[in-house]
Symmetry: C2
């Protein structure tokens, strides 16, 4: 272990360790600092006594000496964990193997994927949603957070959910298929940021699994947002939304003052929370950071649902979702309050539940602190037994600059990303509580490690569950700068994998990733049970026998039932007339795992794949006469190139 060379710069005076023998300050982003200073917000950080660093220099290779684990998975070996990764404004979700950090799958959700046919097949278009003229309603999306369904406080592998910030949608991914099966657009919100499934029913203790998904709205809006009041911004609000985990229908919304960001839920099911960085309801960033304290808002789920049951709701024109009033004015009495506003220093970003079920950690972003909120005390407030909701904060250690998100190791430690410091700090929660009570000997910060550069989210293996195991920690770094071969103006982001099994953190691996992975979870591999070959009976449109290929005509509507079995489609020729509306249903009759077929029609902008024992369909107007060689695009066989069907479109008279 090397002694710190810059310990004077560490806010709490604990001794950090240099893992690579280079001053970490040399790596700090000048961009973030210059921008921050230029924007006039340096004063917000002045209490830390920090100065902008000099120009950045490249970091040498991190040493992984001392690691108990390795990121190397040899050919043919399997990874230990599934990583389920948000794809940011790529609109997709990604599945990684951890620790190798290799991307095993992309799951198209809000994007259009010409490979799988997501957004092209009739089935996927129904999930995404279409306009009256047949075009897709949206083709963009901004995924932020991925979380899984729970049973008994840990992942059960049934579902994963992901949000679309741009258009306010919640997507669901089936755990057995790792495919999106439902998308719900939330009413009355914009900037849908945080999501979290509940972990237990707040009322019925027999239901110890996820039945709801909670959604935080980030941008305040006039309600309704129909072009009526747009100028009186004091009447802008945001909504906390509850979606049914099974039906994916919106159950209720709660209108609040200010905005929301991330979401966390308690293991007992009673509380959900969201950090609030814009208590001020500011319209520009200067206003948004004017208050010294913002809040973490807690929702008493049972009370809200009782209020909905009791009809204490209203609706926003244009939506029939029941809405309860969660504004400060209507929730002043703790004994009837639906929500509690717990004050938290300056523009907090991130709220995370500790795996012991006791605390939520909410970080300050523009304050160098992480606030530890004791859930028992929040419940006390709701019972009228805690005078000030701020008293639920049981620790608030200064941990570094730009603290954002927190993960856990299940051994009492928290790991928080420090955006401005380009570090992860490991700290002890109980020590922070002791220090907050006045124990001057409490050693809060245990370790620090440089990451490259500007980390946002992080997550540790099983960190969001009762089975939190403290093995691997992944860090989503927003800037990669000089870490990879240059690839032009658009840089990759950098995902760093750290071994957290020992006292010291050890960097194992860095992986460049297409922007912009936002958040992720690391799930033990036996929690995810996938199906590789579907049951053909699940596809009502399927043609179940090789001889069943046929063309059916009803006026100008033509239905083509086409089987695929390597290396041939069931019809060598498909003959239609110009102007026909053609619905083409392709059934893959191969039963062998991994033997997917593709189906493309040149000049008709059609391509999609059909996995073994699946059926998928497309509908198009045969507007162009001529010969169009439909072909298999997904390598299936030695004679794959020869697997074609000739679409003959006869000229209309």
């Amino acid at each position: 272990m090397t002694k710190a060379t810059d310990s004077s710069e560490i806010p709490d005076g604990t001794e950090p360790t240099q893992h690579d023998g280079v001053h970490r300050r040399q790596f700090l982003s000048t961009a973030a600092w210059v921008g921050l200073t230029g924007a006039g917000v340096a004063a917000g950080l002045a209490s830390c006594g920090k100065q902008p660093p000099g120009p950045g220099t490249a970091a040498p290779a991190a040493a992984d000496a001392g690691a108990a684990h390795s990121a190397e998975i040899k050919p043919g070996q399997l990874d230990e964990y599934y990583g389920v990764w948000s794809g940011g404004h790529s609109g997709e979700v990604r599945v990684l193997g951890i620790p190798s950090s290799r991307e095993i799958k992309r799951i198209p959700v809000f994007n259009i994927d010409p490979m799988s046919g997501w957004g092209i097949t009739n089935e996927s278009r129904a999930v995404i949603g279409t306009l009256p003229d047949g075009r897709l309603k949206y083709t963009t999306g901004d995924t932020h957070h991925v979380h899984g369904s729970y049973s008994d406080g840990t992942y059960d592998g049934r579902y994963f959910w992901v949000n679309d910030k741009i258009h306010g949608r919640l997507g669901r991914i089936r755990g057995d298929l790792l495919e999106c099966d439902r998308i719900t657009e939330l009413p009355n919100i914009q900037g849908f940021h945080g999501i979290f499934p509940d972990k237990r029913d707040p009322v019925d203790p027999a239901i110890n699994r996820t039945t709801r998904v909670f959604c935080g709205g980030e941008f305040t809006l006039p309600l309704p947002n129909d072009g009526g009041n747009m100028d009186d911004t004091t009447q802008y609000y945001s909504m906390f939304t509850c979606v049914d985990a099974e039906t994916m229908e919106v159950r209720w919304q709660c209108k609040i003052d200010g905005n929301m960001d991330l979401v966390a839920t308690s293991y007992d099911g009673k509380l959900a929370a969201s950090n609030q960085y814009n208590t001020e309801n500011g319209m520009v960033y200067g206003e948004m950071m004017s208050a010294e304290r913002d809040a973490c808002i807690f929702f008493d789920i049972a009370r809200i649902e009782q209020a909905v049951k009791d009809g204490k709701v209203f609706t926003i024109p244009g939506s029939d979702t029941p809405v309860v009033d969660g504004t400060r004015a209507s929730n002043a009495d703790p004994k009837t309050a639906l929500v509690a506003y717990v004050p938290i220093p300056k523009n907090p970003h991130g709220v995370n539940a500790s795996p012991d079920g006791k605390y939520f950690i909410c970080s300050g972003k523009l304050s160098p602190t992480a606030s530890v909120i004791e859930l028992a005390k929040v419940l006390e407030w709701f019972e009228g037994n805690l005078k000030d909701p701020r008293d639920a904060v049981v620790a608030e250690p200064e941990i570094g600059l730009g603290p954002l998100h927190t993960a856990f190791d299940g051994r009492g430690h928290a790991f928080t990303t420090l955006f401005l410091d380009s570090q992860v700090v490991k700290w002890n929660i109980e020590a922070a509580i002791a220090a907050f009570k006045g124990d001057k000997n409490a050693k809060v910060v245990v370790d620090r490690i440089d990451v490259h550069y500007q980390p946002g989210h992080l997550n540790a293996s099983m960190s969001e569950t009762r089975e939190c195991d403290g093995v691997y920690l992944a860090i989503g770094c927003k800037f990669s700068k000089d870490r990879y071969l240059p690839v032009g103006p658009l840089h990759p982001e950098n995902e760093v994998l750290i071994d957290i099994s020992g006292e010291k953190m050890v960097t194992l691996h860095e992986a460049p990733v297409y922007p912009e992975p936002h958040d992720f979870i690391i799930v033990k591999r036996d929690a995810v049970k996938t199906t590789q070959v579907r049951n053909i009976d699940d596809f009502p449109l399927a043609t179940k026998d090789m001889g069943g290929s046929r063309i059916e005509r009803d006026g100008s509507k033509v239905t083509v039932h086409l089987t695929a079995i390597a290396p041939a489609f069931g019809l060598p020729e498909i003959r239609v007339r110009q102007g026909d509306e053609v619905t083409l249903i392709v059934t893959n009759l191969d039963k062998v795992e991994d033997l997917s077929h593709g189906f493309a029609i040149p000049k008709y902008n059609i391509n999609f794949i059909v996995n073994p024992q699946e059926a998928k369909s497309v509908t198009f107007i045969a507007e162009k006469p001529g010969v169009y060689w439909a072909y298999c695009t997904h390598f299936c066989h030695a004679l794959h190139l020869e697997m074609r069907s000739r679409l003959v479109v006869e000229r209309s008279a």
Copy 2:
């Protein structure tokens, strides 16, 4: 070295090596065999005396003992090579670091990318092409082959080209930006399969760089394909197309009998070639494999261009591209022939130029052979000095089952993928020539290695250049089956990296990849020189100073000039009227590398990024009244979340 345990199964009787102590036959795909047998083509392989293997079992980890190189690139270290990777029917191109096999960038080309805004911005839509109603003409594509521009026989980093098989388009990627800048749709073709840039001018020896790109059409068509003759398939032809490397305009086409597939070019610029698997012009796969020999077609570029110059051309109705006649009947006299049809065994797939400039290797696919064609002899034929074009074949070793593509190490060895054997075979070209001449002691096959599973393309570092260096070999395996954690019905493909620097091949790494990477090149890193920060003067629409943000109205057409500098857009509010046609131009005034901004408008389906010192635009109709919080989607700053602009759409009267 371990002795082979199953040498009796090796066609040429050389001694293979087991790298992992397990019978490679156990890994063979039963799927491919069963499919092949079921389709009645087993007879085509009967000469090899092979039987379908038993059920597949999982392979253990390959050992990398004995490797001179490693795939591990420690954090902060840079890869040695750029891998430029086709994305198959994802429609994109990918940039990898080699040897780590980490994906550093995706380059959207034929797909729509909501992250970068490819297909969303006006600039990208102009490259892709739109229909009269404003929709994009195509949103799908099937990239197959990526090749780079040459100077002096090696990569010069100016351009990379990639084809779209579905819609017959050629995309060009700027090497300095690693972004697509041009897409050209080829006339009179379908199933555009192979591409290759030329390496030298065939006439002017002073021009020793790429000036043309050659394109092979795979599917034969009636010409014109307008719904006229569709039934007389004897009148179906395919086209070999020459595109100008700089202007990206089609120079000429050559009509041929049968079809084409891959393309290769000679180092002297005189010859281009394409393998032909459907000499029969069959319409179904049974017909396509009826002949025992197909062909490798050679094009005499200088003669073709002289014919074009001399006006010995015709046109196909609907296109003004000059077409020369390359059919067999018109090219019987070698001294005037534009093309030579060199007979090659059964359904060849793949044609590759050896780095010494002497040979093209064309593999049999349904024959266990690779044919070595000596280019000097092809030129002799064109001069009338070789009686039979078949005499240009100077070797035809039996190397294994399902031979497809060949790479080189610059030390006289060829590496060919064996699709059915799931192997790569290393063989000696000069030994094969000696054996073909009758030398019974010539040791052709040097080594074999199992890959998992069913390899298609492969390529070695700098293999396609005079600087072929024989360090790394990448193999694109079409099936991954059990190599990764299961992810549902759609499996990844498997990219295997092999150290070829020694006598024996050694597997270094396996990487799962989103389907379906088709082909790739491995380029030494100093050949690619990228620009990370653009010159703002290259963007005529840019607003060059922070105070220049403004809104201009011309009737119902509104132009918004919006600057972005972290953490704010130049206008906190953008006020327009319902029904306005809004053109929004975003200029990123940040100058710091990696500091890209995003711009999303909720409910308006808009998202794109703008890199430092760039300007991009979108145009949309403000049809929905209300407040829409445009926000930065690309993490830029500690106050990134606060970086927003309020789009206020006033109700129309």
